[in-house]
């Protein structure tokens, strides 16, 4: 019963490096999301997708890119890492837009440090 799987769990990047945070779900959910959580702050929406081939910006999209080529996978790309991107990143999915029956299911997060 995997649910939402995120890799890696931890990563240290140097300023200017690039990386891709992986996210996969096995629940056949249409909707997928990327959030970041900074210390003492709530989760901020970076990007989301309502289905394969469709993505849209959230509250804090600058410095990130996403793609959704399959229902299962929703990778998040950091092109030029900056210290401001040090955070814990959570991927989430939900079954439908009917919020009453489809809350977000979260992965366990990726802790990223940029130095």
């Amino acid at each position: 019963n995997a649910g939402v799987t995120q890799t890696p769990k931890f990563r240290i990047l140097k300023i200017g490096q690039s990386m891709t945070l992986q996210c996969a779900q096995d629940m056949n959910h249409n909707y997928m999301y990327w959030y970041r959580q900074d210390p003492g702050m709530g989760l901020k929406l970076i990007y989301y997708s309502v289905g394969a081939g469709i993505t849209d910006k959230g509250e804090v999209p600058n410095g990130y890119n996403v793609s959704r080529s399959t229902t299962e996978d929703f990778p998040l790309r950091l092109e030029l890492a900056a210290p401001s991107q040090t955070s814990v990143y959570f991927c989430a999915s939900s079954a439908a837009w009917d919020r009453g029956r489809s809350p977000l299911h979260f992965g366990n997060g990726t802790r990223l440090t940029v130095t």
């Binding site: 909707y31 709530g42 989430a92 009453g100 979260f106």
Partner: protein, 111 residues
């Protein structure tokens, strides 16, 4: 500008007593509210939700109350148990698949 606010970063409660976690919001278009629970090194897990057409929703030891006029919701846990010790986030949505989260309240239930 934070649309969902949890003004208490932490709360300590004795086992068996009631825990009350509070959340305020500013956007009157929000029509669906949720509470999530988060343990260290794990992702948040869904706890309970409430639609704006209701003022109360109950699930076992957990009850969420919504006061739309005050733009305030609260989560009551009765009785509190040590396993309830976690960070609790409230979240709200006005549709469009976007959920806005508060900054969280760390609950410590003392045995």
């Amino acid at each position: 500008d934070q649309q969902v606010k949890q003004n208490s970063p932490s709360l300590s409660v004795q086992e068996g007593r009631i825990s009350i976690l509070n959340c305020d919001y500013t956007n009157s278009m929000f029509d669906y509210f949720l509470w999530y629970k988060k343990y260290p090194a794990e992702g948040p897990t869904f706890l309970i939700s409430i639609s704006s057409i209701k003022d109360k929703n109950e699930d076992g030891r957990f009850t969420v109350f919504l006061n739309k006029s005050a733009k305030h919701l609260s989560l009551h846990i009765v009785p509190s148990q040590p396993g309830d010790s976690a960070v609790y986030f409230c979240a709200a949505s006005a549709g469009l698949n976007k959920f806005y989260f508060g900054s969280g309240t760390k609950l410590n239930v003392k045995p």
